[in-house]
Amino acid sequence: MRSRNGNFPFLFSGFTLIFALAIKADDYYIGYRLTAKNAQAIHETLSVSKAMQPCGSLEHSAILVLNHAPDETLESVLKREETAFLEFASYQELHVKSNDRISASNTQSLNSLTLPTKCYAVEFNNESVTITATK
């Protein structure tokens, strides 16, 4: 049983570790666009770019944790786990655009989903990567 003063160095080191992890997280801009024609996905674009300067705050933000292999880039992690990321990110904000054309001979449908390019804090750990939506 240690006294309050005795615990202080441990608490301090704990806060330092959390602060260091927070500093270690990099910011990335991620955008996504999906086009579907006649109920078939025809075009999909995922753009990932590292932010040149820190952006946004992380207070009360949603978090997604994905598996991460050593030396794997964020882009390849997102391509592998694209459905999970899309479900996570689309909950925050998603732009929908739809155009249908109906005539006697045929019906055409063109729908597109756009995830507005937004900043995410990304923290790489040994076996996982944590993606946090910034505000």
Partner: protein, 149 residues
């Protein structure tokens, strides 16, 4: 003795149902399948919540590298359809019709519909994939607390 016990049981079950299982915030649930037409569109009131449920459909392309890719692409297409249906329900659809009449006869009839919206807080509840058709059940709850935090 048995009659009074049965009577007590009958009185207790509805009371439990009303008191314990119901939440404080009333929910107006309405499934918009687009075909039944039985659901009356509810009006969003203060303190109430409206849950809109839609089922989006998507088809896998005929040529894919693997069944997993077919599933993923069909799910994407179903999600797009689901989001479009949500936008249609919540925001509305713009409809434009054009008829061409030549020599007093209808030669061409075209209808265009378009939807454009920004959707927040939609959830995927259930996904089914059968014979190349993927169905995604999606839900969005609307309330004043979400619109005006």
């Amino acid at each position: 003795m048995r009659i009074s016990a049965l009577l007590a049981l009958f009185l207790t079950i509805p009371a439990l149902h009303a008191g314990i299982f119901s939440s404080n915030e009333p929910t107006v649930k309405c499934v918009y399948s687009g075909t039944d037409g039985h659901c009356v569109e509810p009006i969003l009131k203060s303190g109430h919540e409206i849950v809109v449920t839609v089922v989006g459909q998507g088809v896998a392309p005929s040529v894919t590298a693997s069944p997993a890719q077919a599933y993923a692409l069909a799910k994407r297409a179903a999600m797009v359809d689901g989001y479009r249906l949500i936008a249609e329900r919540v925001k509305g659809v713009e409809v434009e019709g054009q008829d061409t009449i030549k020599n007093m006869m209808l030669t061409q009839s075209t209808t265009r519909t378009s939807v454009e919206a920004l959707v927040r807080g939609a959830n995927i509840i259930n996904t089914t994939f059968k014979e190349g058709l993927c169905e995604v059940e999606m839900e969005i709850s609307l309330s004043y607390s979400r619109v005006l935090p």
